[in-house]
């Protein structure tokens, strides 16, 4: 079998053969080998095919003309003509001119801001939903919450009175003639009972405003919505801004 006798041709030899970049002897040697070697012939055909595909690629359509405006003289670098590595300097200039390294973090930041804004908006809508279904605006819920807690207080008072009554026999039986322990028991029981009573009425924490917070607007759904909307707008503006600079 003569096919496997010689060493196979390297890709570099085959590639150079395609471009007629081999010396005469090298070329003759390659051709002799190719005549006997089917494998190398097929490898050559593969390479030729690949090159043909590359050559057949159409030229991309120009998106615009790249001519420079007439008043560009300020761009000229009045340097000595003996700059022997223009490539190195051009890359640094290009980086100075277009702030791509800055643009990316800016884009990411504005996307983040927009997402956070959207999150705020959505969460405010969600917190508003149960009140909306009960048919009352968020501002009125805080008003309704107060009367709702009022019966709770009366309830606790009643409960407190009951415990007082329940404890009183004990107290009276333990230390007769000392009615003072009863008032001292009642203040300790009121906070725990009132907390229990508050839970059903105060199901939505934002309805009870804690005004001591540094960002009070975030605690109400309306404030959340406002902040969310501002952030969203800011983020979108940032995105538009970075996009425009890119295409300009």
């Amino acid at each position: 079998m003569t096919q496997q006798s010689d060493r196979h041709l390297t890709t570099e030899q085959l590639s150079a053969l395609l471009d007629e970049q081999l010396s005469d002897e090298e070329r003759a040697a390659c051709e002799t080998h190719l005549r006997g070697c089917r494998q190398c012939r097929s490898a050559l055909a593969d390479l030729r095919q690949t090159v043909a595909l590359l050559r057949a690629l159409p030229e991309p359509t120009l998106p615009r003309s790249f001519t420079l405006p007439g008043n560009l003289t300020y761009l000229r670098e009045r340097s000595k003509p003996s700059v022997e590595t223009p490539v190195l300097t051009t890359t640094t200039i290009a980086q100075q001119r277009r702030p791509t390294p800055l643009k990316r973090p800016l884009r990411i930041l504005s996307t983040l801001v927009a997402v956070i804004g959207l999150f705020f908006l959505v969460s405010s809508v969600i917190t508003m939903l149960p009140h909306a279904t009960s048919g009352s605006a968020p501002s009125s819920t805080s008003n309704t919450a107060a009367p709702a807690s009022a019966p709770g207080h009366t309830g606790t008072f009643a409960a407190q009175q009951k415990t007082g009554v329940a404890e009183n026999p004990h107290a009276t039986s333990a230390t007769p003639g000392h009615p003072t322990p009863t008032p001292s028991v009642s203040p300790t029981t009121t906070p725990t009972t009132s907390e229990n009573e508050h839970k059903p009425s105060g199901a939505s924490p934002p309805a009870l405003p804690p005004p001591a917070l540094p960002l009070p607007s975030l605690s109400t759904p309306l404030g959340l919505q406002e902040v969310g909307f501002t952030l969203l707008i800011l983020g979108i503006l940032g995105l538009i801004f970075t996009r425009r600079r890119r295409s300009a």
């Binding site: 590639s15 595909l53 290009a94």
Partner: protein, 212 residues
């Protein structure tokens, strides 16, 4: 390039070196298609390619005085452009999210190609007559982007732009031997890539099985 054009080009370069923007714009008109094409094939993204091309011309204009009269202006220009494209590639490679956009841009760009011509035509005798469909173009473009930058530049300059080995060597500032090896390795890698994806190729493009 003809002698008259060549002479004209030298004059345009000389005038550009005196600060004549119009002369430089005439040079841009001569070379913008080739420059954009190289950059586009390098980065595979139309918008970024346009930015890089514009930057390359601005940089070339700023440094036109450093261009040595008598050497190849095309090689000089393509060197600036391909270097900027390489910079862009290295920067964006750290953010692979971008590759999602690339596929989208592909379709809009080559709307002119003729699909029907592809099906009926194409024996291996006359491969230049091929008109590639869009999927095939996108596949080749993707394959180019898989190449290491030095091989990619060499293959694009030689096989797509039709530069001679000498001109590729001048553009990439390397030796003929290096050019030869880069082109060979780039072609082989691209061939392997295409045969890995040959199920996507129309029948007449399918490469026979690999040697390895």
């Amino acid at each position: 390039m003809g002698e008259i054009v060549r002479e004209n080009e030298d004059q345009l370069i000389a005038r550009s070196q005196q600060g004549d923007v119009d002369a430089f714009n005439a040079l841009i008109l001569l070379y913008q298609a080739a420059t954009y094409s190289v950059v586009y094939r390098m980065v595979g993204e139309a918008e970024a390619a346009a930015d890089i091309t514009q930057d390359a011309f601005i940089a070339a204009y700023r440094h036109i005085e450093s261009f040595r009269v008598g050497s190849s202006f095309r090689a000089w220009l393509l060197r600036i452009a391909s270097n900027l494209a390489c910079d862009h590639w290295r920067r964006t490679q750290r953010h692979p999210l971008e590759s999602l956009d690339q596929l989208g841009d592909e379709d809009e760009l080559h709307s002119a190609s003729d699909l029907s011509a592809l099906i009926e035509q194409g024996e291996e005798h006359n491969p230049e007559a091929y008109a590639l469909n869009q999927e095939l173009q996108a596949l080749i473009q993707q394959g180019l982007q898989e190449l290491p930058l030095d091989q990619r530049v060499a293959v694009i300059l030689c096989d797509i732009q039709g530069l001679s080995y000498d001109e590729v060597a001048a553009t990439t500032q390397t030796t003929l031997g290096t050019v030869r090896s880069r082109i060979a390795r780039g072609r082989k890698r691209l061939r392997d890539y295409l045969s890995r994806h040959k199920e996507l190729l129309p029948r007449q493009y399918r490469l026979p099985t690999n040697r390895e």
